[in-house]
Every structure is written in structure tokens, then in C-alpha cells.
């Protein structure tokens, strides 16, 4: 049954009040947000007043007839349970609803590679964290305010991160002696003080769900599987969420099983009503909509956005997109999504292996399509010889690497940025390719589009780096005006009269891109391949001077891409004490950390690199305008090494390789140390 734990019978002013105080520092700022372009304009002070008032009123009364409502400007919730408990679905539903209600939101699904690890065990715990707010946010948050733990194992894994005084919702039905033992607790954690310091709400989700579904004809197992929806209903009441979007989504998802739809929705509504009518839930919380820039929005995950960017690029180029791919976590969703776009002329080829996948993509590009291959780090390793062929044959090719924790199989569902050097240098010979990285789920759209544009304009392979955190994370995406996306000009070599010899390596003098000669075009017969070729004619050549020339030309061609991409800008002033560089998915945590420190008066700016090869033209000069450059990366300092080698600047690495994204506070702590040491050296302003 349901009870407050160990005498904590009222909502204390603790957790959310503290959050507000901190957040006020973070969000009342003058510098614009890098992602959304506006600062927060909400009535923050009055929000704090309202909350304190509400807390006092609430804390002084145990009456439940009139439930209190507090306004908050942000909340972090983490759902945790068995892999089979439906935590990802629950989190996803909360996210969709919340996005539709106009909040800014960021999510972080964190799940094991096992599809169904043994029930109730620690390795089987799957979690979904989401943070939603009434202002512009950059990360899914560090520690959760609310933890929903469906079993003792989920509690064991996640409790340590729950904020002190945070709300802990436990499913008391899963605290049998065996469950407790499987979670490696010696005694029931509810009885030995383990949970003191948190506000515990226990609900027997199984009994409650069963009760709610008593009238349905479903079997016991199917009823039990609705308990996540019961929990979702409770959360919907607690946070003033609208149930309608979830009703629509569940109806769509199970449209062939009306009884399942009915049961899920009944469970959700029962959970909502339960929270509203019983006395344990004293307070509901309201997070008003965020002040996002004007526009049309859709909530999007990184893999989805990247997929749409590739499709948009192909359409703007007037080419058929050909995907060669082999399933691999966490990239498979791109294959799934593209395979549903046949109506847009997208060809998907699920190959026998990673090599065949890239080979077919190269073949398609050779034939005049846009060849794309999607994979993760181990797949890139297998594809590297073929990518070298595309370098040599100078064909457009987009290679997507959704990075995961390595080496070898590593931790497939955990995130890392350690494939950068592989993307840059992981091929035999001097084999330069363009490399760019997505920094947020929504950013992945333009990154996909840019990859297509550059691959076609420069006749080169382009490697797109994403990672598991971006791939599965989501955020609101301001939809682009399709008509304003640039058209990508593609010119195929025109037919030639018989008797004239076609010159496959004749180049555009500005870009150095060679001509794209589609087989089937009269008069363009020629031979290309992996053997070194004489420039212009394309004949096999072992000539020393020609090889030097071709190696230099291929390098120069990739270097020329810098003329076709935007220079970098800074978040904050373009000179000062510390410049924090970032690439890829660290953007959110770096942004939050830097904004925090800026508010405290520190001279810290940030700069985010979309292009890693070539590097932006203005980067070196920008770095020189700061006393110190630091670079947080989820690897052992790979970009840091590249920049030190290239620019002879003493870039300091902030490295983390534990399979998890940076927390904002981790970066703040390291930057504070850095600022302190500058101060000690007497060089700070």
C-alpha cells in the first residue's frame, strides 16, 4: 500500500526551492542562448515568491481536500526499472506530452545492451531521464528531482544520484525477499534508513493496476504490463500534464489491439485519479511553457534528425539517396527510418556485412546516386579500406558513425567520442576525408544536410560523427523553412562525341573536385579504381611526381572545404581568460557550465566546432585571444592532441571515458580549477 516514509509527511521546501535558486542564476542572463537564440524572459522572481508561499501554506496543513499547486521553472525526472518494464516508452510519452505543452525538454535514455536481462537484476536496469523547463535548457540535467524506481535493482543503481530531499516513487509490489536479494541489498532498503533524506512515496503498482483493470478481460500478465502506465498517470497528475497526447499515441501504437489500448489508458487514468484523490500526493507542480523562439516545433531524437537531414540534402540535390547499412547499435534506427522512406525514392540495402554496406554505397555514388552508409565505431573500422577507395576514386560518400563506448564491442548502448582519430586517420596511406559532428539531437539535421552538400560539392567521403547520447536523446526542434534550405548544385559531366577522350580527373579549379561521370552517359567511358591515377587522364600511374601531386591535391581538396563552411562563433566574448572548446554532444553540458561561470563574473567563453576536418579558418586566431584553452571530450584527449599538434597551442584536456555524458557540475568544477590556477599565476583579469 501507499504511505509516506518515516514521518516525512509534508512537502518540504527543500528540493524545488533550491533548484529555483540555482536556476535563477543560470537563466537570468544577458547573453543569448547558442541554440535557440533568446534569453529567458519569464517572471522568475515572482515564481519564486509563489513557490515559497505555496510551500508555507502547504507545509502548515495536512488537509488534502484542496491540493496545492507549485510553479517550478524546471524538473528532472528519472524513470528506472527492468528492461521489460517499459521505462523507455514511459519516458518517451512524458517527453512527447511535455514538448507539446510548450516546455523546453532534453532527454537521456540509458539502457543496457541486453534485450531482456534476467528480471530484477542490476544489469537489467533501464532508465530514462528527462528534464523539462520554462526556459531554454541544454542538458537533461545532472541529478534527478524525482526518481521512479520500479524495483529494488533500479533503486540500487540510481538512488545515489537522486537529489537530497528529492521525491522517490517506489513500486512496493516488487520488494519481495528475492527481489531485494537480486538487487544486492542485504536487508530491505525501506527498513534500514537507506532511504532517509528522500521523500519516499510507495505505491503497490501491481495491485493498483490489477484493481484498475479488474473489469477487463486481459490475462494477468498483460494487466501487469500496464503498470508503467499507472505510474505515468501519477506523474501526469503531479506535473499537470495533459493525458490526451498519450491517449493518441497509445491508440496509434497498438491500433490492432484495441483491448491493449483500453487497458493502458485505463491504467494511466487510474494512476492520475489515484494521485488526485489520495492524501499522499499533497502537491502538484506546474512548469509553465518555455519562451522558445517563434516557430513550428517538433520533438526529435538525434538519429531521426540526422536521417531527415540526409533525406533533405538528397532532395535538395535532386538525387536518389542510396543507403547501404548493416544493423549496429546505436545506429540501426537510421536504417529503420530510411527503409520507411521508399515513397521518397530512398533505396535501402541491408548488406551482409559492414564492408558490403559501404561497398554498395560507393557503387551507388559511382552510378550517380548519393551513397550513404551508417554504422558505429566497429563498423567504421571494417569500412576503412573501402572509404580509402572512395578517397582515391574521388566519389561522394556520407559515412555516419554513431559512436559508442569502445574499444572492440565495448559498451554498445553507452556513449563516447573516441572515434575521432579513427575518422580522421584510420585508413592506410594519406587518406584525408571531411569530418563533422552533430552537437545536439536537433543539430543533427543540419549536420546531415551539410554532410551531403560537402560530399557532393567536393566529390569526397564525409564522415559524420554522432554518438549514442545524441542518437537517443531528444529535444524540441524548430522546423526549418524547407524553401530556405540551400539548393545543392550537382552537375554531371555531359555526354561527349565519339572519338574524344574523356578526362575523369579534370578538376574544378576552385574546389579541386573532379567531374562526376555517370555510367550510361555516351562518350564518358573511363576507368577508375584504387590504383594511383594520373591526374586529368585517370590512367594508372606509378610516376613519382604524379603521386606526390595527387596526394597533395587530395589533401588540398579537403582543406578547401574550409572556404565553404561557416567560421566559428563564440558563446560569450571572443577574447578573455578561458576558452572552452567543444565538439559533438558535449555542447549542452559545456553551454550550461560556461553560462553558470559567466554569471559568476568569470571571463569564460565557449566555442563549438561542427567541422573537425577541415578546422574552421578562424579557429587558431580565436584560440590565441584567450589565456587558456580547455577542451572537454568523452575520450582521452583526441581533438586536444590534434589541436596541440596543428597549432602548437597548450590546449588542456578535460577527459572522461565512463560511457556517460558530462554532467554540468563536472565541467564547472574543472573550469573553476582552471580559473583558480590562472588567478594564482596572476594572469587572470
Amino acid at each position: 500500500m501507499l504511505r509516506w516514509h518515516s514521518g516525512q509527511r509534508c512537502v518540504s521546501p527543500g528540493v524545488f526551492g533550491w533548484r529555483i535558486a540555482v536556476q535563477r542564476v543560470q537563466i537570468v542572463r544577458s547573453s543569448p542562448s547558442p541554440r535557440l537564440g533568446v534569453g529567458h524572459k519569464g517572471p522568475l522572481l515572482s515564481a519564486v515568491h509563489r513557490i515559497r508561499h505555496a510551500v508555507m501554506a502547504d507545509g502548515s496543513s495536512t488537509a488534502f481536500v484542496q491540493k496545492a499547486t507549485q510553479d517550478l521553472d524546471q524538473v528532472v525526472i528519472r524513470f528506472a526499472g527492468d528492461s521489460g518494464d517499459g521505462m523507455q516508452l514511459t519516458g518517451d510519452q512524458f517527453t512527447r506530452t511535455t514538448a507539446l505543452m510548450g516546455n523546453d525538454i532534453a532527454t537521456f535514455p540509458d539502457f543496457p545492451a541486453e534485450i531482456r536481462a534476467p528480471a530484477g537484476t542490476l544489469p537489467g536496469v533501464s532508465a530514462f531521464q528527462l528534464r523539462f523547463s520554462s526556459f531554454d535548457i541544454h542538458t537533461p540535467g545532472d541529478a534527478p528531482d524525482v526518481l521512479v524506481a520500479m524495483n529494488p535493482a533500479a533503486l540500487q543503481v540510481h538512488l545515489k544520484e537522486l537529489k537530497k530531499d528529492g521525491i522517490l516513487i517506489l513500486n512496493s509490489a516488487s520488494f519481495s525477499a528475492l527481489d531485494i536479494k537480486k538487487a544486492k541489498y542485504e536487508v530491505d532498503p525501506r527498513t534500514d534508513g537507506t532511504l532517509s533524506g528522500w521523500r519516499v512515496i510507495e505505491v503497490d503498482l501491481e495491485a493498483r493496476t490489477k484493481e484498475a483493470l479488474a473489469s477487463t478481460a486481459l490475462d494477468a500478465r498483460s494487466k501487469d504490463r500496464c503498470k508503467n502506465m499507472y505510474a505515468l498517470g501519477i506523474l501526469y497528475w503531479m506535473f499537470h500534464r495533459d493525458m490526451a497526447p498519450t491517449e493518441r499515441a497509445i491508440e496509434e501504437k497498438f491500433k490492432k489491439k484495441p483491448d491493449v489500448v483500453a487497458a493502458n489508458l485505463m491504467a494511466m487514468k487510474a494512476g492520475f485519479d489515484y494521485a488526485e484523490t489520495t492524501e499522499v500526493f499533497q502537491t502538484a507542480y506546474r512548469v509553465p511553457p518555455a519562451h522558445l523562439p517563434k516557430g513550428t516545433y517538433r520533438n526529435i531524437m538525434g538519429n531521426q534528425a540526422l536521417t531527415l537531414g540526409l533525406v533533405a540534402g538528397a532532395q535538395k540535390a535532386g538525387l536518389e539517396l542510396f543507403l547501404g547499412s548493416y544493423p549496429i547499435t546505436p545506429a540501426s534506427d537510421i536504417l529503420h527510418q530510411l527503409s520507411g522512406y521508399k515513397h521518397l525514392g530512398v533505396v535501402t540495402f541491408q548488406a551482409e556485412d559492414e564492408i558490403a554496406a559501404v561497398g554498395a554505397a560507393i557503387g551507388a555514388s559511382y552510378a550517380g546516386s548519393l551513397g550513404v552508409t551508417t554504422t558505429s565505431g566497429p563498423g567504421v573500422a571494417l569500412k576503412s579500406e573501402a572509404i580509402g577507395l572512395a578517397v582515391m576514386a574521388e566519389l561522394p560518400l556520407v559515412v555516419v558513425d554513431v559512436q559508442r563506448a569502445g574499444p572492440s564491442t565495448g559498451m554498445p548502448t553507452k556513449t563516447q567520442q573516441a572515434d575521432l582519430l579513427q575518422a580522421m586517420y584510420g585508413r592506410n596511406g594519406e587518406s584525408p576525408v571531411a569530418v563533422l559532428a552533430a552537437s545536439t539531437p536537433a543539430d543533427a539535421f543540419m549536420v546531415g544536410f551539410e554532410a551531403v552538400r560537402i560530399a557532393l560539392q567536393f566529390m569526397t567521403p564525409v564522415i559524420v560523427l554522432s554518438d549514442g547520447y545524441i542518437a537517443n536523446g531528444s529535444e524540441p526542434w524548430m522546423l526549418p523553412d524547407v524553401d530556405k534550405l540551400p539548393k545543392i548544385e550537382v552537375t554531371f559531366a555531359p555526354p561527349q562525341a565519339p572519338g574524344t577522350k574523356f578526362e575523369p580527373y579534370k578538376r574544378n579549379p576552385k574546389t579541386l573536385a573532379r567531374q562526376w561521370a555517370k555510367p550510361g552517359t555516351p562518350g564518358l567511358m573511363h576507368r577508375i579504381g584504387g590504383l594511383e591515377k594520373q591526374d586529368v587522364t585517370g590512367n594508372i600511374s606509378y610516376d613519382a611526381a604524379n603521386h606526390q601531386h595527387m596526394v597533395d591535391t587530395r589533401a588540398q581538396k579537403v582543406a578547401n572545404i574550409a572556404d565553404a563552411v561557416e567560421p566559428v562563433a563564440t558563446l560569450g566574448p571572443d577574447r578573455g581568460d578561458v576558452l572552452v572548446l567543444g565538439w559533438g554532444s558535449t555542447r549542452g553540458s559545456i553551454t550550461s557550465a560556461v553560462l553558470q561561470l559567466q554569471k559568476q563574473g568569470h571571463s569564460v567563453s565557449a566555442c563549438f566546432l561542427r567541422w573537425l576536418n577541415p578546422l574552421p579558418r578562424n579557429l587558431c586566431e580565436l584560440m590565441q585571444r584567450f589565456k587558456k584553452v580547455v577542451l572537454p571530450e568523452l575520450n582521452k584527449g583526441q581533438l586536444c592532441m590534434m589541436l596541440r599538434a596543428k597549432f602548437l597551442i597548450d590546449v588542456e584536456s578535460i577527459s572522461k571515458v565512463d560511457g556517460q555524458p558530462f554532467k554540468t557540475h563536472e565541467i564547472v568544477a574543472r573550469l573553476s580549477q582552471c580559473l583558480q590556477s590562472l588567478k594564482n599565476q596572476g594572469v587572470s583579469r
Partner: protein
């Protein structure tokens, strides 16, 4: 099309301006010559023809043909060719490969190409040796082969490429021999006419590293007794006077029949649904039986690329969608 748009081509028109750089006396010359002859016979248009190869001596082939050519990487020609054919099914795409390229490093792609029935023609030059790397045993070398990398003789059992192709579900399988001109050219023409994957194994002599590998078959005086010409709709007969035949027992074990038993010679049907007779021929011991050449199997099955294109066309008809509609779908909301 008028003849002005499709000029009549001579055999020489298929030759590129590049010098052929195989070793003098290599069997590849004869195959190149036969392919050029077959292409002239079929009036293949240069700009519609693409030849894709992997790595090895055989894979230099595209450079010598005045068509589109792509000399790719070791073992991967079937993958690149698949991409080309699916991207543009109108192209006539040929894969030229060797026993090392197709059976060893590219073995996986080889079997998957066959099971998919992509409309490619695959010419595999089988010299039973690694030539370009200067003489190591290959996956088709006989057991006990003494080479630089197997000084005491190779321990590996060899693949029988035709049996492998049958196992992988190939819809067209044929065999030719480099020095036998008429049957080889005919095999190439038949392969060209096949809709799905047409696999041709071509016995080819490497006169540097494995000279005489097929001598016991190809010598003029032995040929008629050592070669079994597979002729559709005719019994399996061989010998100068066609006085010997191949018969099968109920388990498809072969035997040589003659005299009064000649009538028991198996009636060859290259279109047979069951692969059993072809498998029996593919596995016949070359030291005991004649070597079959010609078409082992020819079955009509829709091609991979036609299946993919059909799905795309149907989807386009059923659900036309603009880019804007694609992006603006699902749950969207306005911020004003």
C-alpha cells in the same frame, strides 16, 4: 533507337587504349579476347556497360575494355557492383574476379550476391593459385599443393566453386575453359542473356605460378575424353565418338556408362528445378570423371533490383509526400 544512335561495333571497339600487362602466355588474354568477341556478337553499347573488378591479376580486366570500369578493392567487387546495379538497373554490369578474390577474401559477398540474384554477370577466373602475390595456394588449390606458403603441401581442402554457387542458390551457373574458344564465348553469351546473377567459372592457366593446372583436361589429344559438354536437352555424352556417358544412381552418384548402357546416360536439363544433378556433376572427382563445361543451372527468378524498384514505385504511387510534409509530420506545435 536508330542505328545512328547505336553504332555497329566491331570487336576492336571494345579494346581500350591501355597496354595489356598480363604475363605473356597468360590464360587471361584468351578470356579477354573471348569477352570482346562475345560483346561484339551481342552489340553491347560501350557507355551502357560497366565492368567492376576486385584485386588480383584478373581484376586488371576493366582497364583493357573500352567501357566504364571500376577496379575496386580485394573481394569487394560484388558489393560495389550491387550498388551500381540497384542504383541504375538499366546498366549492364559485369564483375570480373578470381578464385582468391571471390572464394577467399570476398567469399561472404560472393554467396550473398548469389542468394540475392542481383542482375550481375560474374566471370571468375580460376587458376587455382594466387598469382599477383606471386604464388601462394588459393582456396581452389588441390590439397597438398606445394607453394611458397605451403612448402610441405597445403592442408586445406579446396572449394568446388560450382557446388558452392549451387549451395548459395545461384540461378545461373556455367563453366568454361580459357583455351576452348567456342564453348567459352557461348557461355559468355548465355550468361549475358540471363536476368539474375550469372556466375561463370572459367578455368584459366597461370603459366608462371601454376602452369599446367588444367593440362590433363585441355591437351588437344585428351580433350574429348576429359571434357563433358553440357548440352541442354541432350544426354550427358563425351569422348570423340560420344560413346561414353554419365549416368546417376538413385542417390545421384555418377558412373561412366558405355556400350549397351549408353542409353542410361542422364538427359541434361539446365533448367531443372532440383539442383541435385548439377550438384552431382559439380562434385565429380576430376581424376575419375570428365570435367563438365557449359551451363549447370539456369533458372528464372525475379532479380533483386527489380524487387527493390517495384517496392519504391509502389510506395511512390501510394504515398506521395513533399519534403515539407515529411519534416512537419507527427506531433508538431506552434510557438507564437
Amino acid at each position: 533507337m536508330t542505328t545512328a544512335e547505336r553504332p555497329v561495333l566491331q570487336k576492336k571497339d571494345y579494346k581500350s587504349d591501355q597496354d595489356v600487362r598480363w604475363c605473356p602466355g597468360c590464360g587471361d588474354y584468351a578470356i579477354l579476347n573471348a569477352v570482346q568477341g562475345a560483346f561484339a556478337k551481342l552489340q553491347k553499347q560501350l557507355h551502357e556497360t560497366v565492368i567492376i573488378s576486385g584485386i588480383g591479376c584478373s581484376s586488371r580486366f576493366p582497364y583493357y575494355m573500352e567501357t566504364f570500369g571500376f577496379h575496386t578493392i580485394h573481394g569487394r567487387a560484388p558489393t560495389i557492383a550491387t550498388g551500381v546495379k540497384v542504383a541504375n538497373p538499366a546498366l549492364d554490369v559485369w564483375v570480373v574476379t578470381g578464385d582468391g578474390d571471390a572464394m577467399s577474401i570476398g567469399g561472404n559477398h560472393f554467396i550473398h550476391l548469389l542468394r540475392r540474384n542481383v542482375g550481375l554477370k560474374v566471370l571468375m577466373f580460376n587458376n587455382r593459385i594466387y598469382g599477383l602475390t606471386k604464388g601462394q595456394f588459393s582456396p581452389t588449390s588441390e590439397q597438398g599443393k606445394v607453394t611458397k606458403s605451403s612448402p610441405l603441401g597445403s592442408v586445406d581442402y579446396p572449394f568446388r566453386p560450382v557446388a558452392l554457387a549451387l549451395g548459395a542458390g545461384a540461378t545461373f551457373i556455367a563453366r568454361g575453359i580459357d583455351v576452348f574458344l567456342p564453348p567459352r564465348e557461348e557461355v559468355i553469351c548465355k550468361a549475358a542473356a540471363h536476368q539474375g546473377t550469372a556466375y561463370c567459372e572459367i578455368y584459366q592457366n597461370c603459366n608462371i605460378f601454376n602452369d599446367g593446372a588444367y593440362k590433363g583436361i585441355t591437351e588437344k589429344e585428351l580433350r574429348e575424353d576429359r571434357v563433358l559438354y553440357l548440352e541442354h536437352g541432350k544426354p550427358l555424352l563425351f569422348g570423340k565418338a560420344k560413346d561414353k556417358g554419365i549416368a546417376f544412381d538413385k542417390d545421384f552418384r555418377p558412373s561412366i556408362v558405355s556400350g549397351a548402357d549408353l542409353a542410361r546416360a542422364f538427359m541434361w536439363d539446365e533448367t531443372a528445378e532440383t539442383p541435385a544433378p548439377a550438384m552431382a556433376l559439380a562434385n565429380m572427382d576430376e581424376s575419375q570423371f570428365p570435367v563438365p563445361v557449359g551451363v549447370f543451372r539456369r533458372r528464372v527468378l525475379p532479380t533483386f533490383e527489380s524487387g527493390i524498384r517495384a517496392q519504391i514505385e509502389a510506395a511512390k504511387q501510394k504515398k506521395p509526400q513533399t519534403l515539407r510534409d515529411l519534416l512537419y509530420q507527427g506531433e508538431i506545435w506552434e510557438v507564437t
